[in-house]
């Protein structure tokens, strides 16, 4: 287990201000745990925009092709049968089901991808640093490199303290 420091804020605006301040001091914040999404934190932490949208697009495209292709196959080669004088390849009739499979594939592929990349899943047991992060605390986690000296750690703690963080806690 790595060594790290945790500290918390009680207000997201102070959090953002504090994060920017410690960033200038060279402290690298590993993660922030918050009770709700804080706008603007992506920029401060340097997070990239999620690419899950591409998964959704790919899933949707596959869904559309599968949906339309399957119906075409069934009605033109596997089991052609005349329904109400309609052509075997009755494209307008295929649209509704194609639409549904598109949405279904897109939604499920994206949500599954979200769980996989975020390592979330039923029964997953996370490390709970502070039970109040899902309530009202915004917890900042700073990783400490293995070979850091006592002074370096103190410096990080001081930087956090100066930036208005509370409950600074060193964990090894």
């Amino acid at each position: 287990m790595n060594k790290y420091i945790t500290a918390y804020y009680l207000d997201e605006e102070k959090l953002l201000k504090g994060l920017k301040q410690v960033k200038t001091k060279g402290v690298r914040v590993a993660d922030v745990l918050s009770p709700f999404p804080v706008h603007g934190i992506d920029k401060v932490l340097g997070l990239r925009r999620s690419r899950l949208t591409r998964v959704a697009f790919a899933g949707g495209a596959i869904g559309a092709i599968v949906g339309f292709g399957f119906q075409t196959w069934v009605f033109t080669s596997a089991y052609p049968i005349n329904f109400g004088g309609k052509p075997f390849f009755a494209a307008p009739s295929f649209i509704p089901v194609t639409f549904e499979t598109t949405v279904l594939f897109a939604a499920f592929s994206m949500v599954i991808a979200f769980f996989v990349v975020s390592k979330l899943g039923p029964g997953n047991k996370p490390v709970i640093h502070d039970e109040r992060v899902t309530d009202d605390r915004f917890l900042v986690i700073v990783d400490i490199p293995e070979n850091s000296s006592k002074e370096e750690i103190n410096e990080i703690e001081k930087a956090l303290h100066d930036a208005g963080a509370e409950g600074i806690n060193y964990k090894a």
């Binding site: 706008h39 697009f57 109400g84 307008p92 009739s93 649209i95």
Partner: protein, 374 residues
């Protein structure tokens, strides 16, 4: 540009393209740009009653577009009065009446047609004027009571427009194919107008920004307009499909006659209509960034603008002109350019009349300070 339109019109007369084709073209363009004006007003009104914040930043464009309504009204009246009515609507010919048309005569007759015509235009123009005036007074006098007035007139307009947009589409468009009917028609035409109207707002905004105006508009506002263009295009396609699919599926001759005419004589345009107006906005505007920048948004807006012109062409020409005589030539293109010129003339003249940024609107500050993750 207006002169190109006039030349095209004169060319049409002298080249002997036939009165029906000329009339149908005037109706087409007049209706198309009237729709732009109405959508401008609708856009302002609907956001006023929905208490939307961001739209305040582009509100002046919608207001300016609405000043075209009376212009289109006068032109349309002149056009109808000087032979247009007779040339387009065959229910105005007593000798062509059959049993079905006689049954419709209580609604489709010339005096009642004109009565409805005047009601639409007078109420639209008055409300456009009131909404514009309240909005400008709100800005110049900084009096919150005009904000409530703006909302009141907007609500009245929305209610009136909900009915009049449907009825006017029956009067001016659906009655061209006088025997045919579809309950969805009015909403379908409205969605077509809405998609092309939003495209027009984007185009006007682009022109203004190119010329150094509208500096308060940022990417977030453009993004919202882009989302509208994307969404309304899909919704339009949904209505197109609903109407087409239901008529195709039930296969009742009195209904399918409408589509068979279009698929026989206008097949390329018929297919292009559905593809251009759905596929381009859907695929090109799918990503977030493409809705936020003009270089990808403007081509789509122009495509949608042309695409819905084709849509309207599909609605009018087969019934009014017929497969043999219709076409797209200098007359069509020239006249459309003429109308674009006239429309821009009116709209940009109106835009000069008021500050482009309604600074005293209670939501103005909100509109300037928002950013979204999506």
């Amino acid at each position: 540009m207006v002169s190109i339109g006039l030349i095209a019109l004169a060319y049409g007369f002298f080249a002997g393209l036939g009165g029906e084709r000329i009339s149908a073209n005037i109706l087409l363009n007049n209706y198309y740009f009237l729709g732009m004006g109405l959508i401008g007003l609708f856009f302002v009104a609907v956001h006023a009653i929905a208490e939307s914040g961001w739209q305040v930043s582009v509100q002046r464009i919608g207001e300016a577009m609405s000043t075209f309504i009376p212009v289109a009204g006068v032109l349309m009246l002149l056009f109808f009065a000087f032979g247009g009515l007779h040339s387009i609507y065959h229910w105005t010919h007593p000798e062509h009446m059959d049993e079905i048309l006689l049954n419709k005569a209580p609604y489709l007759n010339v005096p009642f047609f004109y009565i409805r015509f005047f009601i639409y235009f007078i109420v639209w123009s008055l409300l456009a004027w009131y909404i514009r005036k309240s909005s400008r007074n709100l800005d110049s006098l900084n009096d919150i009571s005009y904000f409530h007035k703006l909302r009141k007139f907007s609500a009245i307009f929305i209610v009136f427009y909900a009915i009049s947009s449907v009825m006017s589409s029956w009067d001016w468009l659906m009655s061209i194919d006088a025997h045919w009917f579809s309950t969805l028609y009015g909403w379908y035409v409205f969605m077509s107008m809405l998609a092309s109207g939003v495209a027009m707002i984007i185009i006007i905004l682009y022109i203004l920004k190119r010329n150094g105006y509208m500096t308060h508009i940022n990417n977030e506002h453009i993004h919202d307009l882009g989302k509208y263009l994307f969404g309304f295009s899909i919704f339009w396609a949904y209505l197109w499909f609903s109407q087409y699919m239901l008529i195709w599926y039930a296969n009742i001759p009195e209904e399918t006659v409408y589509y068979s005419e279009r698929m026989l004589h206008f097949k390329p345009l018929f297919i292009a209509n559905a593809i251009v107006n759905l596929a381009f906005p859907l695929l090109l505007l799918m990503t977030r960034n493409s809705k936020r920048v003009f270089w990808s948004l403007i081509p789509v807006a122009v495509i949608v603008f042309i695409g819905h012109w084709i849509d309207l062409y599909q609605l009018i020409m087969p019934g009014a002109v017929g497969g043999e005589k219709a076409g797209i030539g200098f007359l069509e293109i020239g006249l459309t350019i003429g109308y674009v010129g006239l429309f821009f003339l009116v709209v940009f003249y109106s835009l000069t009349k008021a500050p482009l940024a309604p600074k005293n609107h209670p939501f103005y500050k909100e509109s300037m300070d928002y950013h979204t993750n999506y």
